[in-house]
């Protein structure tokens, strides 16, 4: 009995220390990489079973989620990425040296991006139809920033180009995948609720169109 326990204990300990070792390596890997890496990529590169990697990465995500951590490991664009937590932005900003200028997008650009995100692959005329304005506008800006990409031609008259969102889009907007976006129906319900509940004459949707885009906190440093 005692012997069995001891053996079990020894095995547990060796598994534990192996896990700790693997966790340390995964932490280091997530720390150094610039692009979110998928579990598959990591598992293949360090030759470990996918489910084991997934389990330990999830442990890391949970651990860093605790309030005593100022860093977080997040699932973004189908992979894992380390970054500072948004709630500490004021303290952190003072120390950010290589400040990449924040990506400023106008409301028309965001609208176009939203249409592409929800309707992809989508053609220029389809985008114009929804937005109600001529000019696919801002497509070039979105392409330049690699938020969207060409997605082949559509098999209709004129064979127009279609567009889709990219991995960079997911990264820039902190999305795990496209499924994480609320459905369009949810927006509709939101609109209806506002119509019923809101007593002020300005629902949120129109308010945003009037006021210049709110200054995001990351611009003045």
């Amino acid at each position: 009995m005692d012997e069995m326990d001891a053996a079990q204990l020894a095995e547990d300990q060796s598994t534990d220390s192996e896990d700790a070792q693997l966790q340390a390596i995964l932490e280091a890997i997530v720390y150094i990489t610039d692009e979110p890496l998928t579990v598959q990529q990591i598992a293949a590169a360090i030759e470990q079973p996918i489910d084991k990697i997934k389990r330990i990465l999830d442990q890391l995500v949970e651990e860093y989620g605790k309030p005593e951590h100022g860093l977080s490991i997040r699932e973004i664009a189908g992979g894992y990425k380390m970054a500072t937590k948004a709630e500490h932005h004021e303290a952190v900003r003072a120390f950010v040296k290589k400040l990449t200028p924040p990506m400023k997008l106008s409301l028309p650009a965001l609208e176009t991006l939203a249409v592409i995100a929800y309707k992809q692959p989508v053609t220029t005329p389809e985008i114009m139809e929804i937005r109600g304005v001529q000019g696919a506008g801002v497509l070039k800006t979105l392409l330049d920033r690699k938020l969207i990409a060409e997605a082949g031609r559509k098999d209709v008259v004129g064979r127009p180009l279609t567009y889709k969102t990219t991995k960079e889009f997911l990264v820039q907007f902190g999305l795990k995948d496209l499924k994480e976006l609320p459905t369009l129906k949810e927006f509709e319900e939101l609109g209806r609720l506002e119509l019923v509940e809101e007593s002020q004459p300005e629902p949120a949707a129109t308010a945003a169109a009037e006021s210049p885009a709110t200054e995001p906190p990351g611009t003045d440093a």
Partner: protein, 259 residues
């Protein structure tokens, strides 16, 4: 005046934006739009914009026509018997659908903006550079769009390339020898002499190129060829090419000669 937009004229991204704003500001039930009132307000906006010299795009005009069309259809009496057989769709229905669709995407855009605000408060500090081999070329991550854009840039550059401009750059004969050496290290030739001269951006560069060519011909590093009389002159790398550049002496000597 009945328009809620009297006091300040706002800029709208398109007619749908303007309509939505009119409807939402007045808490109008979007499923039962008082089309006459809205049409009047819409036209007032267009009028005001014209007075203030604000240019409205063609879609605003088209939407005005659509509104007027819907309004007139609603005024026309319908045959009650026909309605029983073939109930007509509300003339406003298509517009309402478009407005709702547009509004959904406006909300989606807002949601995206909120997500950006959060991401802008988050910083990452990847250290991968320390683990990459030094000879790895980081390069550009390339998309199809980059390819078209690049081609466009190359063509633009070709268009604006000044051929006979007198540059202020200080090109020297040794510079041109080094340049030719680069050319013939890639390509044994024949290279069109005319092409080479046309590529130069200043008179000085052309003269230096000419002198550099003479030097290389003298050293038997490069030879001149011509297929037929008055034909294109070609430049070709000769056996003496390697020898001419073997030591640093040749260049140094020429450099001295031209200083």
């Amino acid at each position: 005046m009945s328009s809620p937009l009297n006091f300040h004229l706002e800029q709208y991204d398109g007619p749908l934006d303007l309509l939505l704003d009119l409807i939402r500001k007045q808490e109008i039930n979007i499923y039962d739009i008082p089309i006459a009132r809205i049409t009047q307000q819409y036209l007032e906006y267009m009028q005001k914009a014209a007075e203030m010299d604000i240019e409205l795009s063609a879609e605003f005009v088209y939407m005005a026509a659509t509104l007027i069309h819907i309004k007139s259809r609603m005024l026309l009496p319908r045959d009650p018997e026909l309605d029983k057989l073939l109930p007509e769709e509300d003339p406003r229905q298509e517009l309402v659908d478009r407005l709702l669709e547009h509004e959904r995407f406006k909300s989606a855009a807002e949601m995206l903006q909120q997500k950006r605000v959060v991401e802008e408060a988050v910083w990452s500090n990847p250290q991968i550079a320390q683990f990459r081999a030094e000879d790895d070329d980081p390069g550009l991550a390339v998309t199809l769009f980059d390819l078209v854009k690049t081609f466009q840039t190359v063509l633009e550059r070709a268009k604006h390339r000044p051929v006979y401009e007198i540059g202020t750059e200080e090109v020297s004969v040794p510079d041109m020898i080094r340049y030719l050496r680069g050319v013939f290290e890639q390509d044994r030739g024949p290279v069109s002499a005319r092409d080479l001269f046309e590529r130069q951006r200043s008179r000085r560069a052309m003269i230096c190129l000419f002198l550099a060519l003479l030097e290389l011909v003298k050293l038997q590093a490069v030879g001149l060829t011509q297929q037929d009389s008055f034909g294109e002159i070609g430049l070709k790398r000769l056996k003496g090419f390697e020898a001419a550049f073997a030591g640093g002496d040749t260049l140094a000597a020429i450099e001295q000669g031209y200083n």
